[in-house]
């Protein structure tokens, strides 16, 4: 007697993607279809996610008081770059700013006095990324040279900053973003080669690499320290991906934008993050609900958002756009509270100061402005 059971695998064309695969039966609206396992899992994901939006964020926020009028003006204009400003970062002392530009210059400013404290010329143009070390004693920058270099800052007038340069990261395409982790010892980088990587500054060794983006990675942001070892990255594949720094695994991915994601920033509590994209919208994604919970857009805004950052409480989202303006959004209600004019070209970078007193924007008009 034959008492063996055999597993029958049907091979054929998947009803969704039409590829030749091993098929399994899937029931959709009481109709039986045959999907390959990839499409079945995507279908399962698409069915799980929509179970949870029982209510929208702005509905929950209806009972919150509306914000009053904001008066924000340019308080300082930092002039000195010879070409487009591409990136900037604040020092933890809430006063110093490092900025990098297309002409290869990286400048450290004192934002209170607008004095330039340090300047270094990189051997490449388009320095697209720069970051201040948490100790305030070093800066990291990189761009078309495919590397991230760390320069220790010294106040000794005789020292040549470029002489102490240390090359830390090596990618196979341009460096688009870099950030120190909680210490001066590790740097996280994002590159046009589609990967992110974690490096040890002292040895230049690659500690972890993060593969998963299907195109250039344009931005990254580390989770606020209390919430653990994750970071979010956004790229030209329209995806925002959240990574576990220890395992190198992608933990969550979000693909609702319609174009390249230029900037991602964590919400101050670490439970959500915002993204700004070339599709002229900014979106808020909640990590625990695993979905997009708000879109910040207006029909009159047709230019891409290049850079976003939150105020300290997370109530305000500042976004710099390619139409030379900065829009300030009420994160909870989804409405725009203010529009700031002043730059004479695209706003390329925007960061709120560590103590929340001001924010700084850098632009293709060669200047940086501090607003308060």
């Amino acid at each position: 007697m034959c008492d063996q059971t055999f597993l029958v695998n049907v091979f054929g064309s998947c009803d969704k993607c039409f590829k030749q695969r091993a098929l399994r039966p899937v029931f959709k609206k009481s109709q039986q279809l045959s999907y390959c396992s990839t499409c079945a899992e995507i279908g399962k994901l698409e069915r799980e996610r929509p179970k949870l939006p029982d209510v929208e964020l702005h509905q929950v926020a209806e009972r919150v008081e509306a914000l009053g009028q904001f008066v924000m003006k340019t308080r300082r204009t930092l002039k000195g770059h010879g070409n487009k400003v591409l990136c900037m970062d604040w020092c933890k002392d809430k006063r110093r700013i490092v900025s990098s530009s297309q002409d290869g210059k990286v400048i450290v400013w004192d934002s209170f006095t607008t004095n330039k404290e340090h300047a270094v010329t990189m051997p490449c143009t388009w320095v697209m990324a720069c970051a201040y070390a948490p100790s305030g004693c070093a800066i990291a920058c990189g761009g078309l040279d495919n590397k991230c270099s760390v320069y220790p800052l010294t106040f000794d007038k005789n020292e040549n900053m470029a002489a102490k340069k240390k090359s830390v990261a090596m990618h196979t395409n341009y460096l688009s973003a870099c950030s120190f982790t909680n210490s001066d010892m590790q740097i996280l980088t994002a590159s046009g080669d589609g990967t992110c990587a974690l490096w040890d500054v002292e040895s230049g060794q690659l500690l972890q690499s993060f593969h998963g983006h299907g195109a250039d990675v344009l931005c990254l942001d580390l989770a606020p320290s209390e919430t653990g070892n994750t970071f979010v990255s956004g790229g030209c594949d329209k995806k925002a991906m959240v990574w576990d720094m220890r395992s190198g695994q992608c933990v969550q991915a979000f693909e609702t934008h319609e174009s390249d994601i230029n900037s991602v920033r964590y919400y101050p509590s670490g439970d959500a993050f915002a993204s700004g994209s070339d599709d002229a919208t900014c979106r808020l994604y909640d990590l625990r609900a695993d979905r997009e919970v708000a879109i910040y857009s207006k029909e009159s805004i047709i230019f891409g958002a290049s850079s976003v950052d939150f105020s300290l409480s997370g109530r305000l989202l500042f976004a710099g756009y390619n139409d030379y303006t900065i829009n300030v959004w009420d994160v909870l209600k989804g409405a725009r509270v203010s529009i700031l004019f002043g730059h004479e070209n695209r706003v390329s970078t925007l960061r709120v100061s560590p103590d929340g007193t001001a924010f700084c924007s850098g632009s293709w008009d060669h200047t940086l402005r501090v607003w308060a």
């Binding site: 799980e48 029982d54 964020l57 904001f70 969550q252 609900a289 997370g314 305000l316 909870l332 007193t357």
Partner: protein, 72 residues
């Protein structure tokens, strides 16, 4: 032979994609009403320390112009 290699990597890639999706589908999710309420709570708690909302007097704001001083 090149045909075989192409199919091999296709399967490997597809397998990884399926595993990634399976893992993502399996994470514990929270209802938006709860997640949104938590975001709201964080906002209202931190609103007092958010200087853009509360505002600081021009005297303490290092960026606002101070009253002009006359040099005697």
């Amino acid at each position: 032979m090149s045909g075989k290699v192409a199919i091999g990597s296709d399967i490997g890639q597809a397998r990884r994609a399926v595993e990634q999706l399976r893992m993502e589908a399996g994470i514990d999710r929270v209802k938006v009403s709860k997640a949104a309420a938590d975001l709201l709570q964080f906002c209202t708690e931190q609103a007092k320390s958010d200087l853009f909302l509360v505002g600081i007097p021009a005297a303490t704001n290092p960026f606002k112009e101070k009253k002009p001083c006359a040099i005697l």
